[in-house]
């Protein structure tokens, strides 16, 4: 077939009456990938978008990193010491760390990077409330002095997902946190080819030959980042069917997030395998707007908690049980804070209990404005299921369909639902973003400081603060369980089960690492 194809092209070329020019030389090992989204913004501190976070892991490095077991391990650091009173952290950089321009990485660069990150990231902001001093002691050593002990230092500096504290050269890190950076010098395993970056077409990364990997084997986002391909191209192919056709035809090597309904097509092809690289997966979530009636009343929100069950949502969207898990734990199943405490009776579609709660709460039949996003395959079918279950419990639901970006803009509005606001919507979290009460955005119940939905509960905030101060993992777990119990009484959101997104790769590609973020070191491509 290939010879016929060449012949056809040759004939057509002649017909075009022009002489062919030689094809450009290409790197031998170029990995051609379709990510879940096109790369549009390239400052991982400026935005929380996952595609930008993934870009960050390509070109930047981190002081600490999360391994496959969820443990925080030194990454750019040779070692770190914690004083006996747990107030002073002294961190020493590894030898041989270089920026992509060849200059050495210094502690001053890291101090500036932490400051810029902490100005934007919510966990970073929380950490900085404990910090009394953050300084470079010498070019290879930085020191963090705390006002009081906290378990947040490693957790924040090693957090795997947005915003990740990536290290940048001081001249870049001193950019105002509200302004996008324009210098993409990192010290990570790949170099970003700015001149080849064409938004809507492709982003290109090449191996950083001078990168010095750690000696340990790679594990999650930690360990040795050994690059085994010369070049990685992120191709922007927005049409799922086209991307899958290209993978089948061998024009691509890897699709990060093929839609679940097309997985059977890929499974049938002998040249392709499906690989779940994110064992923690994702969690579906129903978010309330607690500013307006009737969801300003916790009893009405509890009624929704009783009316829902996870399986209906997961079946409607994912379908194949191999790619979902019913998990009543608020903090994801498979992570250290997983617990079922306080969850008895909830998420079992107990409509009688839900109706009783609505009656007790005096629900007056107000229509619930439920925002329904229609353009993201992994979310589209959630809202109709929510509507159906809520109606069976006695709610009146006005489901309004819109594209995701309209929903994103509308959810930021505090206006009454009848005046362009909203009551509820559904979304999905990457499990790595919701591992504990401080990290999980929807658990924040800090009123105006909370995320859209604006829950306001002093008890949850007190527990979150205790969690931040606690350094003993066992006590941290007890606090997380208390948060979970409190959220059944004062629901800020409802977790609707975990789901998994396998990547599709051609069989000549291997070495994909299990991690909450798709990374490209350790991957090799055969012929």
């Amino acid at each position: 077939m290939r010879s016929v194809r060449r012949l056809a092209v040759a004939v057509l070329s002649l017909a075009w009456l022009a002489a062919g020019t030689p094809e450009p030389a290409r790197a031998e090992t170029a990995l051609r990938v379709v990510m879940h989204s096109d790369l549009k913004i390239v400052d991982p501190i400026w935005t929380t978008a996952y595609i930008t976070r993934n870009h960050g892991y390509m070109i930047y490095d981190t002081l600490f990193a999360t391994d496959v077991k969820g443990e925080i391990r030194p990454q750019m650091l040779e070692k770190y010491d914690v004083s006996g009173d747990k107030l002073t952290y002294t961190m020493t950089l590894r030898d041989g760390l270089l920026w992509h321009d060849g200059k050495p990485v210094t502690a001053e660069d890291c101090v500036a990077s932490i400051k810029r990150w902490a100005a934007k990231d919510s966990m970073g902001q929380k950490l900085m409330t404990f910090v009394s001093e953050l300084v470079a002691v010498n070019p290879k050593t930085l020191r963090i002095v705390l006002k009081e002990p906290t378990g947040l230092v490693l957790g924040a500096l090693g957090k795997p997902s947005s915003n990740v504290p990536f290290m940048m050269p001081r001249r870049v890190a001193e950019t105002d946190p509200g302004t996008q950076i324009s210098d993409f010098t990192g010290s990570g395993p790949f170099v970003f080819k700015k001149e080849e970056w064409k938004p809507g077409d492709k982003a290109v990364y090449v191996k950083f030959a001078q990168y010095k990997p750690r000696g340990e084997a790679p594990s999650g986002l930690a360990g040795g980042k050994v690059v085994k391909v010369d070049r990685v191209e992120w191709r922007a192919i927005p049409d799922h069917q086209t991307a899958i056709n290209a993978l089948l035809a061998g024009e691509l090597d890897y699709i990060e997030a093929p839609p679940h309904d097309l997985l059977p097509v890929l499974k049938k092809d002998a040249g392709i395998r499906l690989e779940d690289i994110n064992p923690l997966g994702n969690q579906y979530t129903f978010r309330f707007n607690m500013l307006h009636k009737p969801f300003d009343n916790p009893k009405v929100r509890q009624a929704v908690y009783y009316a829902f069950n996870q399986k209906d949502f997961l079946e409607a969207v994912i379908g194949d049980p191999a790619y979902y898990k019913v998990c009543k734990a608020l903090f994801p199943c498979g992570t250290p804070l997983e617990s079922l405490k306080g969850m008895d009776g909830f998420l079992d579609s107990n409509f009688e209990k839900a109706k009783a709660l609505l009656k007790e709460a005096g629900y007056d039949g107000t229509h619930i404005v439920l925002m329904h996003s229609t353009d993201l395959v992994v979310l589209t079918n959630l809202a109709p299921v929510a509507k159906s279950l809520m109606e069976r419990a006695g709610f009146k639901v006005d489901m309004q369909s819109m594209d995701w970006q309209t929903l994103v803009a509308r959810r930021a509005k505090k206006d009454p639902p009848a005046a362009g606001g909203w009551h509820a919507f559904l979304t999905s979290w990457v499990a790595a973003d919701i591992l504990n009460p401080v990290m999980a955005g929807f658990v924040n119940a800090g009123c105006d400081k909370a995320m859209f939905g604006w829950p306001c509960d002093a008890e949850i905030e007190k527990l979150r603060d205790q969690f931040a101060r606690e350094t003993d993992p066992k006590k941290q777990k007890a606090i997380a369980e208390a948060v979970q119990v409190r959220i059944t009484q004062y629901p800020t959101h409802i977790h609707l089960g975990q789901w998994y997104q396998p990547a599709a790769v051609r069989k000549n590609v291997d070495g994909l690492l299990a991690a909450p973020v798709p990374v490209f070191w350790n991957i090799q491509k055969g012929n």
């Binding site: 092209v9 096109d38 809507g200 192919i237």
Partner: protein, 298 residues
């Protein structure tokens, strides 16, 4: 152009969606979104935003994309070549196929050839562009493996690859034009075939081919050229779909991405560009009439 500018600007501001919220990402707080709005100048009153934008456009500055941190003009320039190549190859293919088909259908009026051509053109009109695209990909790229599934190669990177990646998209997009132009050509040629000067030419003993080419086709050309010109508007819509199906980084993809991301400066500039192209092509079509039919004067 002024009307287009006001219309596009107003429609974008009236459309739901907030570029600041999109830029900030899913995990951003309301405060982060608000900060970005200020930086983009979106907190200003809409009339003030319009005056600033119009002033810049009049100075030739279309602004900077909200997302890509690139000048919009630069983004457009990067995308012109694929769209131009796709449009030109589509039109060439369509005209080269449809005009002979239309002439033959008219010449063989009432025969199975005529019915066949008209049947195909009804099909061409009726089947959506993306369905044709997927069907061609399945046949020529997946099953036969003759041509690539997707992508675009710039001309400077090699003519073979350039052509290889242009064949299927051009075929896809040309189908509707072949249908449109063939039908108009048939109708127009049929009308001229019954004219006195054609009967005279045949009476003089001229062979059928010279009659068709010299006396029929030239006199039937005005409606055909008109439909080709008007087809440019249709082409813009077709390019958007075709570039998405074949993942071609042209202006069609750019505007889809920009609309979905509410990237106001980019959408405004591309729509203005498309409207300029549309006006210029219509002007050229009008001027062409004077060459085709000396009776037409402006």
């Amino acid at each position: 152009m002024g009307v287009v500018a006001i219309f596009v600007f107003s429609m974008l501001r009236l459309t739901a969606g907030d570029p600041a919220a999109i830029i900030a990402g899913d995990n951003a707080t309301s405060q982060q979104v608000a900060e970005i709005r200020v930086r983009l100048g979106l907190e200003r009153p809409i009339p003030q935003q319009f005056i600033i934008w119009l002033g810049n456009v009049l100075r030739g500055d279309f602004g900077e994309s909200f997302f890509f941190k690139k000048k919009v003009a630069e983004l457009i320039l990067e995308r012109v070549e694929p769209t131009l190549a796709l449009s030109m190859s589509t039109m060439l293919l369509a005209v080269a196929t449809a005009v002979p088909l239309g002439v033959i259908a008219a010449w063989k009026r009432g025969t199975w050839i005529d019915r066949g051509v008209m049947g195909i053109s009804v099909l061409g009109f009726s089947v959506p562009v993306f369905v044709i695209g997927y069907a061609l990909i399945y046949l020529f790229a997946i099953e036969l493996a003759w041509l690539p599934v997707q992508g675009y190669q710039r001309l400077r990177e090699g003519f073979g690859g350039f052509l290889e990646r242009l064949v299927l998209p051009s075929l896809t997009l040309a189908v509707i034009y072949v249908a449109l132009i063939a039908r108009i050509t048939r109708a127009s040629v049929l009308e001229v075939l019954g004219a006195d000067h054609v009967r005279t030419a045949r009476a003089k003993g001229l062979a059928e081919l010279p009659v068709l080419l010299r006396h029929v086709l030239r006199n039937a050309a005005v409606p055909i050229v008109t439909v080709i010109g008007l087809g440019v508007a249709l082409l813009i819509g077709g390019v958007v779909v075709t570039e998405s199906v074949y993942s071609i980084p042209g202006l069609g993809r750019l505007i889809v991405d920009a609309v979905l991301a509410r990237d106001y400066p980019t959408v405004q500039a591309v729509v203005l560009l498309f409207s300029v192209v549309y006006v210029v092509i219509n002007l050229l079509v009008d001027l062409t009439y004077t060459f085709l039919d000396p009776r037409i004067r402006y």
